[in-house]
Symmetry: C2
Subunit: 277 residues, 2 copies
Amino acid sequence: MNREQLINEIKKKNSFLCIGLDSDKSKIPKHLLKYKDPVFEFNRQIIEATQDLCVAIKPNLAFYEAGGSTGWKSLEKTLKIIPKGIFTIADAKRGDIGNTSGLYAKAFFETLNFDAITVAPYMGSDSVIPFLKFKDKWVILLALTSNAGANDFQMGKHKMENGKWLFQNVLEISKHWGTVENMMYVVGATQASALKEIRKIIPNNFLLIPGVGAQGGSLEEVCKYGMKKECGLLVNSSRSIIYAGDGKDFAEKARVEAKKLQIEMAGMIKMKMGIKW
Amino acid sequence: MNREQLINEIKKKNSFLCIGLDSDKSKIPKHLLKYKDPVFEFNRQIIEATQDLCVAIKPNLAFYEAGGSTGWKSLEKTLKIIPKGIFTIADAKRGDIGNTSGLYAKAFFETLNFDAITVAPYMGSDSVIPFLKFKDKWVILLALTSNAGANDFQMGKHKMENGKWLFQNVLEISKHWGTVENMMYVVGATQASALKEIRKIIPNNFLLIPGVGAQGGSLEEVCKYGMKKECGLLVNSSRSIIYAGDGKDFAEKARVEAKKLQIEMAGMIKMKMGIKW
C-alpha cells in the first residue's frame, strides 16, 4: 500500500487506529481452545468485528514464534484473511547485516505479504536499506519506544556530543535512507512530550504510536504534538481491545473498545486538523 | 549449557569454532532439492561432517523465516539433531518491550530449546532482562557489529557526551544486567582493533565474533586482543564453510574448511593462552 492509499483509508474510515494482534494462546477466551487453530480463530473473529474501525493491523511476531512453526502457520493464515485496504504491519523489530536483512525483507514482504515491518536501527544503514527496495512496502524504524528501557540508550544517561539524544541522531541520519513514501517511525505514546521535537526533524513521516491504553499513553497528547495535515499517525492499541472480553462475546467487546477509540480519533481529526472529511 | 560446560567443550575439541547455518535454499547444492526438506538435509549433512570440529552452531533466523512456517519447520528439525554438547545460538537479533521479550525467550529457549539468542540493545534493559531469567540460557547482546552500518550509531559520527562511543556505553550499562554466566557480546572480527578497549570493559564475558572468512576479519587479530585465560571467544564462520562446495561432496568440503579453522584455533589456544590442554 502506498502513502496516498493509506491516507485515503484514514479519510474513509475517520480513523487512524491500528489494532495489535498480540494473540497469546494462554490469554484468549477458553472456549476457542476447542478449535484446531485457536489463535487463528481468535484473530479471525477480532478482524471481522473491527475491520471497519481500524486502518491497520499489527501482529507482533513474538506471540506467533512462541508457538514455533505452528504459530507461524497461524500468522500466515491470519494474513490471508485481512481485508484489502487494511495496512498490515509485522511488528518484528528485525535488523541484520545487508544480505541477511534482505532475506528478512523477503520473508515479511513476499512470503507473508505484509505492507510494513518494524526494524531496529542499532546496526545502521545497511541493515535497514534492504527493506526499502520493495515497491509500496514500508520500514517502520524504532526511534523512541514506549518502555522504561528507552531511558537506557535512546534518551539515556548521556546525550551525544552534539547535544542530542541518540533517538534524535537516529531520526536525523536515517531520514535520508528513505522517503516519506517508505519510512515511518515508532514513537511511544508515553513519550508524547518529545513529539514536538520529533516533528521538527521529521515533519511529514507517518508515526506508529504504541502505548495508548494498557501502557497509559494519552491519545489527546499524541495528536496535539504529532498530528499533521495528512494525519501522519497510526495509533496502536493491542491488549485493551483484543482482551476486552473473555467470553463468547469477546469480539463484540473488542468492537466496543475499538469503536470508543475510533470515535475519539474522528473527533481529533476534526478538531486538530480543522477539516471535515 | 553453562559456562563451565562450554569451556570444557572448547578444551575437549581444541576449538572455539561456531558454524553459522545460514542455509539459503537458493544457494545449497542443487542435488538436495529432490529431498522433501532440502534445507534440513543440507544442515544434517553439514552437522554430521563438522560436529567434532565446532563447539557451537548458529542458525540465522532470516534464512528460515524466508520460507515462512516451512522454514521454521526446517529449523525445528535441525535443532533436534544437533548433538548434545554443541552450544546452540539463535541468531535472531530480537528485542521488544518486557512481556513481549519474555515470549521471544519462550520461543527460543523453550519451544526451540536453543542455549543462546542474539539480542539488539536499542530498547534497553527491560527488553533484554526477560531473556536472562532462564537457567543456563544466554543472551548474546549486539555491541559492535561487523557491517559498515556499525559506523552510523555504534561507533558513528558522534561520540556520547562522556567521550565514549555508543557501543562502549552499551557494554558499560548492560554488563550489570547479567553476569559472565549468562551474557556474551557480539563483536565483529572486522572490529579487532577495538577489542583491546572492549576487554577493559568486559574482561571475562565470552564474545561471539562473526566476520572471519567471507567478511574479511583476521582470526589472529581477534585472538591477540580478545582471547582470555578461559578462551572467552566463539568465532563464527558461515558462508566460507557451508558453501565450500556445491557438489555431492559439499559436506566433505565444508569439513575441510572447518578443519583448517580448527587447526588454526588449536594453535592460537596453545600460543596465546600459553597452555596445552
